[in-house]
């Protein structure tokens, strides 16, 4: 069954406290190549049947209204993934 993947990231200008904690932990494990981490969210919306333009539009709408908060987050990707 096809899924629609929605990726949400904290806005670039907003400090991401979780990402900051992760970047602090990486070198303690020997991962020294990374200077910054930002943590986002991935949603997978399963669709029964074909993903029409209308369904994709619904997913984009849901991404903007419920899955993300436009004050602090950006929807960076909405795409269909065939299972």
């Amino acid at each position: 069954m096809p899924r629609i993947v929605v990726d949400v990231m904290p806005k670039p200008e907003i400090l991401d406290p979780q990402g900051k904690a992760i970047v602090g932990a990486l070198p303690r494990l020997g991962f020294t190549a990374f200077s910054a981490v930002r943590q986002g969210k991935r949603f997978e919306l399963t669709v029964d049947g074909e993903v029409t333009e209308e369904i994709l539009a619904q997913a984009r709408n849901a991404a903007e209204t419920l899955l993300s908060n436009p004050v602090i987050e950006d929807v960076v990707n909405v795409e269909v993934v065939e299972a």
Binding site: L15, P17, N69
Partner: protein
């Protein structure tokens, strides 16, 4: 001393016509969502202020005849997705949003998770993100009342400092610079943290209001500082009670 019952007994006492019931007929609704923690304390604060608490359930489709609403703290829906994000779409919230924006300007107070729900509902601007130090923090917090003209702060003096408990993990208030400048210019920063910013909130903002002053949200918990002996040790320990007497006076004044 008059007994002050908890929420489970509130209705029975009201029916028996207690003295408190006669103090004022003002009804203040307190909303419970799945995962709300502080509804009982909010109910108790309403009662101690001399109003009649009305328990509201998130799935209710009517507000009844309440004169004001408190959205208390807790972890509604486990803070899943974002704090307050799912509660914002509860049936009762659309009624509260309409009533707050209506000409009647229903007074609405959001505390902690209630504040988060109000920002997710767009009744108040900005948003809360995780504390800058990433930890849950619980402490007695000094706040300065920056605006004492809102429905929920009129019993305080301008610039008055009050101590109430603070306890949260997602308490860092943020908004873009333009929004922050507008809030400051319009006097809508209602409370600021004093002495110590516990979560990295922009411009030490602890609470804000809408333009009309009927909707107020803040992260700290005034409902935990309403009864001598049970509130913060700093100050009188009851410095949160003014929120609830403020709205009561506002309601009584309107009904005159």
């Amino acid at each position: 001393m008059t007994e002050l019952p908890l929420i489970g007994e509130a209705v029975a006492v009201a029916a028996h016509g207690s003295d408190l019931r006669q103090l004022n007929g003002a009804k203040i609704g307190v909303v419970t969502f799945p995962g709300t923690l502080d509804d009982r304390d909010a109910v108790r604060a309403v009662r101690l202020a001399g109003a009649t608490p009305v328990a509201l359930w998130h799935a209710d489709t009517t507000l009844g005849d309440v004169d004001a609403v408190v959205i208390p703290g807790g972890f509604s829906y486990g803070d899943y997705l974002r704090a307050g994000a799912i509660s914002r779409f509860a049936p009762l919230m659309s009624k509260i949003i309409d009533a707050a924006n209506s000409e009647a300007r229903l007074p609405v107070l959001g505390i902690c998770n209630g504040f988060q729900i109000l920002t997710e509902s767009h009744l108040l601007p900005g948003s809360m993100i995780k504390n800058d130090h990433l930890k849950f923090m619980c402490r007695d917090q000094v706040l300065r009342v920056e605006n004492n003209t809102t429905d929920w702060t009129r019993d305080y003096a301008a610039g008055q400092e009050i101590t109430v408990p603070l306890k949260n993990q997602d308490g860092q208030y943020i908004a873009d610079e333009k929004t922050l400048d507008a809030l400051e210019a319009e006097g809508r920063v209602v409370f600021r943290y004093v002495g110590f910013n516990p979560n990295g909130s922009r411009r030490d903002i602890a609470g804000i209001s809408n333009a009309a002053g009927n909707v107020v949200g803040l992260m700290p918990h005034p409902e935990h500082a309403v009864e001598a002996g049970f509130g913060p040790e700093e100050g009188s320990g009851t410095e949160g009670l003014g929120f609830f007497t403020s709205v009561l006076n506002k309601i009584v004044g309107d009904n005159k």
